[in-house]
């Protein structure tokens, strides 16, 4: 394999070097140093890399002419193309928005009955709704609306305010306890109540979903006096005021006696941020239809 070639004709070889030391195996120059018989190859740099370097340099010259490049005092050279990344980005964003406008604008009307029955439109819009949900809602309500302690489930058929998309849209737009326009809902603290009374009440509330609560005891009176105004006489809740039903299987913070006692002692003020500033009215409506659909899917699955 060691066919000897003339090292002076190899790429990168120095034809003029006088005192060259050539490696007999590869034919390449060595660095000239000798460490007790060990020498080091001075392998020439690959030509194609040099060409690529030259090409990138040439491109940089072209780019300097065409694109914004050099700082000059308080300004910079703007280039013949006159590109500006901010302008490009805004134009690109508007183009993206314009692409969606065809179907997204139909959600701006807020005619939810028509929107929900338009299967072709929903099919087109669902991927966008899923992305909006993942980016804005999933952090609290879970990727498929499964919720978590303190963050309401969206995929079941129990609602705090209403499962009607019109009402959901309002909640998304203005939030709950988020700003002056928000829905307001506060579970006040009952820390003025005797500890023993709170414990009894907590036990009563914990027993409500199973129907085993004793309706004749003193805790039933406590419930009627303190809780029924919002949660209803039987604890069935009130959609108009966002007071959760205490009789169904759905909970936000938990309905075991210990959690209820905590709720009674410290109160709860859940916050749902307002999205009106981040999302357009059409996007809010799209999300409302999507969220309303989450629970009906669940209902279908349950059948």
């Amino acid at each position: 394999m060691t066919e000897r070639t003339n090292p002076r004709k190899l790429p990168g070889a120095d034809p003029h070097a006088g005192n060259r030391k050539v490696d007999p195996v590869t034919g390449y120059d060595t660095t000239g140093h000798d460490w007790g018989g060990i020498t080091e190859l001075n392998t020439p740099f690959p030509r194609f890399v040099i060409w690529i370097l030259a090409a990138t340099f040439l491109y940089s010259v072209v780019a300097w002419v065409l694109l914004p490049a050099w700082p000059v005092g308080r300004d910079y050279t703007r280039g013949l193309l006159g590109l500006d990344q901010g302008v490009e980005a805004v134009a690109g964003f508007r183009a993206l928005s314009a692409e969606r406008r065809g179907w997204l604008d139909r959600f701006a009307t807020g005619d939810f009955a028509a929107l929900q029955s338009d299967t072709a439109l929903l099919e087109q819009a669902t991927p966008a709704a899923q992305r909006l949900f993942a980016d804005n809602c999933a952090a609290c309500h879970g990727t498929s609306g499964q919720g978590g302690p303190g963050f309401p489930v969206l995929s079941d058929t129990y609602w705090l305010w209403s499962g009607d998309p019109e009402e959901i849209a309002l909640t998304i737009r203005d939030g709950i306890n988020a700003n002056d326009n928000s829905r307001i809902a506060e579970m006040p603290r009952f820390d003025w109540m005797e500890q023993s009374e709170r414990e009894a009440l907590a036990g009563y509330v914990a027993a409500l979903p199973s129907g085993t609560a004793d309706g004749s005891g003193p805790e039933a009176d406590l419930f009627a006096e303190n809780c029924a105004a919002c949660h209803g006489d039987g604890g069935e809740g009130g959609l108009g005021v966002g007071a959760p039903s205490l009789t169904d299987a759905s909970t936000i913070y938990g309905q075991d006696a210990k959690t209820v006692l905590q709720t009674l002692t410290y109160g709860r003020i859940g916050v749902m941020p307002a999205w009106g500033g981040r999302l357009s009215a059409a996007e809010v409506n799209l999300l409302a239809v999507y969220v309303a659909g989450l629970s009906s899917h669940d209902g279908e699955a349950a059948k």
């Binding site: 980005a89 609290c140 749902m272």
Partner: protein, 242 residues
């Protein structure tokens, strides 16, 4: 040209000189614009400085290395605007020393985070990210429930004031009190915070407990302030850049 380099390598001082020339071109292009930065970067009229509590949160953000995974700069690209909101302007960070733009996004960008999630979500998420986002790879920061050390806040505001951040004498003197008041809406000092930093400053118990000022209060106050210090980027997006 290869010959030139080959020969230059043999003249050490010549090579040193050539390296200096080559490196200073790159240096000049990066450094020269900094000399005119005060005139070139437009500071938005409505830009407000961070409150002492937000500033304390920012220090914790830096201490915990949050910037290593979270950028605070939305690039001027269409799909970044689509996901995060209007792209970041240089002027937004005029009062940030140091700025925390970052470039690595192991987690999402935080430049427009303020108001996106509830305080409670932030608290739960910082204590145990998996509790609210099961797929998260973010580390947990349970020690943020420790009390906040406010001892250096006055000095910090004074230092920033020297760097051009508009904190006046009164703000510097009230730094510690303002930090406490911002997390306790029923306290006497709450109005002072609003007076000094604006009516729509968030004054509330960020960690859910108004009686104790914790590092969690500071971090959540900071996170809820991100992107809310000026409306300028929204104007640029709405009106387009000239």
């Amino acid at each position: 040209m290869l010959r030139l380099h080959y020969n230059l390598e043999k003249i050490s001082m010549g090579l040193v000189g050539a390296i200096i020339v080559a490196a200073s071109i790159g240096g000049l292009v990066e450094i020269a614009p900094l000399f005119t930065i005060d005139e070139v970067v437009e500071v938005p009229d409505d830009l407000r400085p961070a409150t002492p509590l937000e500033l304390a949160g920012r220090e914790i953000f830096i201490r915990e290395g949050c910037y290593a995974c979270h950028s605070q700069m939305i690039r001027s690209l269409a799909d970044e605007i689509d996901r995060y909101g209007p792209y970041s302007l240089a002027g937004e960070s005029a009062y940030d020393h140091p700025m925390l733009w970052g470039s690595k996004r192991t987690g999402p960008d935080l430049a427009r985070l303020g108001g996106k999630y509830s305080d409670r979500w932030h608290v739960e998420h910082l204590i145990d990210p998996r509790a609210v986002v099961p797929a998260s790879i973010m580390p947990a920061y349970p020690w943020l429930t420790e009390p906040l050390d406010t001892g250096l806040l006055g000095d910090e505001l004074a230092t920033l004031a020297r760097l051009g951040v508009p904190y006046d004498e009164a703000a510097i003197a009230a730094a510690e009190a303002d930090a406490r008041a911002q997390s306790n809406p029923d306290s006497d000092g709450a109005d002072g915070v609003r007076e000094r930093y604006g009516e729509d400053i968030a004054v509330r118990a960020f960690d859910g407990d108004p009686s104790n000022l914790t590092e969690m209060d500071a971090v959540v106050a900071y996170l809820q302030s991100l992107g809310t210090l000026t409306k300028a980027p929204y104007k640029v997006l709405a009106e387009g850049k000239q």
